[in-house]
Symmetry: C2
Subunit: 366 residues, 2 copies
Amino acid sequence: MRNPKAKLLLGPGPSNSDPRVLRALSEPTLGHLDPDFVAIMDETTELLRYVFNTKNKLTIPISGTGSAGMETAFMNMVEPGDKAIVCTCGIFGDRMVDVAERAGAEVVKVESPWGEPIDPEDVKKAIRKNPGAKLLAIVHAETSTGVLQPLDEIVELAHEAGMRVIVDAVTSLGGMDVPVDRLELDFVYSGTQKCLSCPPGLAPVTVNEAAAAFIRDRKSKCRSWYLDLGMIQRYWGSERFYHHTAPINMIYALHEALTIVKEEGLEARYKRHKEAQAALIEGLADMGLKPVVNEPFRLPSLTTVWTPDGINEAAVRKTLLEEYNIEIGAGLGVFKGRIWRIGLMGTNARRHYVVQLLGALKDILK
Amino acid sequence: MRNPKAKLLLGPGPSNSDPRVLRALSEPTLGHLDPDFVAIMDETTELLRYVFNTKNKLTIPISGTGSAGMETAFMNMVEPGDKAIVCTCGIFGDRMVDVAERAGAEVVKVESPWGEPIDPEDVKKAIRKNPGAKLLAIVHAETSTGVLQPLDEIVELAHEAGMRVIVDAVTSLGGMDVPVDRLELDFVYSGTQKCLSCPPGLAPVTVNEAAAAFIRDRKSKCRSWYLDLGMIQRYWGSERFYHHTAPINMIYALHEALTIVKEEGLEARYKRHKEAQAALIEGLADMGLKPVVNEPFRLPSLTTVWTPDGINEAAVRKTLLEEYNIEIGAGLGVFKGRIWRIGLMGTNARRHYVVQLLGALKDILK
């Protein structure tokens, strides 16, 4: 018996899917080479370029969730034996290390404490010590800590050293500016279930000319057949070469979700995310709750907050979910039991949802 | 502008999604650790065991399309350097060779001509010549040729030689018996968009105890993080260890599709597929069109037929799609331009759809 009740999803993702997106999901399935579907694919790539704010030709959704986007990046951008500098200050940076090693990279880690961003000075040192490194990877929006990573200086250092740059924008795309073209980021991946308010299942990626050329001229075959962009781009390009059957209905949903973003406009959307977070931080402060991350490193779409002393934080989350139909996220790793993760992503980044959450929290904690 | 028109999908897949499945897709998105969603996950694995007709504990949907199922099989079942015997007589056997090699296998091919099954004698010879081979892989239902591969003798040979067996059941699961437990198949994968009549996007897999133990005791890490069953099974098991965010709404759809299969019953469903094909073959014979594959090797869910002499087969398919709203498939590889592939899969395996197709074909060819 399956009858999922609508809840307010204010955790680290998925966020609520827009009702228009849910309706798009149930449109009739078409063949993956049907001219009507091919037209939808073309429009989807155009809309993705708008949302990524890029001119990159190779801008497509990968047929898996955000983590498949991460794997696509490393499988395609690493030749076995390549040295890669991977920055990590949270779960998703750690995941990058694991994924990079499985793709055959020799990984050099640059770390900083959880709740803080990576220090460009540490990157500078790592580059100096590893002159042959081919790749730098970094998380733009670390969902496990709520840290927004400034990219300018680090990306510039990497590019000066001739390195390719991979950026994880899973929790930033659609909620704040991702400087794809401005910083000439080589490979950026994201997910659909965060600030795009589309169900999980696709990983939008964008690849610049330099990275596309690298993929074209690889010496070794990509270790993943399923995620081999050399082949996948021939299906998304004018050739329409069959690779695997695209997740047709999920593409409808993404098409609708991106259309909604474009209707609102990127700047208005970014502003809405910032304003919603400001209301949340103010309300939490009134309750004596302090954010984990200091400005200017606070991620607009995901706020981390220290849990109040002397309460059972898991019990609070359980009550929130069961009695108030609101989901918020637990802490992971070193933050387990010590923080909450509150997402205001996509359609959920609105003041009235903040008020709803704060009211419920006050009711439980009183 | 996205407004996909409903068409009758009688190609090699996707088949039409059942309307109930499309409605399930648009149910509200839940969090991937929400107790209500976790209950749906548990029911989905139970239903998958019913459809695979297996007691295998490790029976789950992988978060990608059918080809991700293939990649999951080889990434988890191959240790780099393992010798693998891969049987191929079509596109999907060829794909297995490529995927196995990328996973690090040393591949020995056993081939037969397109349109015919693999000969167990050839497998016997290959096993004799390669006494150290660890793995045998074979396609049960070759979608590029319409061949149904008898498995009993070949699987027995492989198991006698101590080899693990991977079977591709993408186009057979839900349309005919897949002998998972009877032949103790080690790893079987499928897709949702064929005989399950669910949109593409998930790959059901089932893994027996021996294969699960192999995966648990691997010496090397699985080359794919995203498809690492050692980790994924901890999310689908009672531990609920977070790996990646499941494609929530696609799981709803699969849950509904499997429920529909169970309501009908496996035997009734298999019978319906056979009867629909018999009606198709009879109708094609009346038009002078001959099947490519001889009995008993004809795949019930996908019929391949030689195109009539002296016509432009691509133009016929185009007219069928544009004027009659019916999709059928083209030939691939050596069959390009020479055959049509007509799928009667899942909800589409019904006589009245056969009559609709035959009427349209006669109208075009008259």
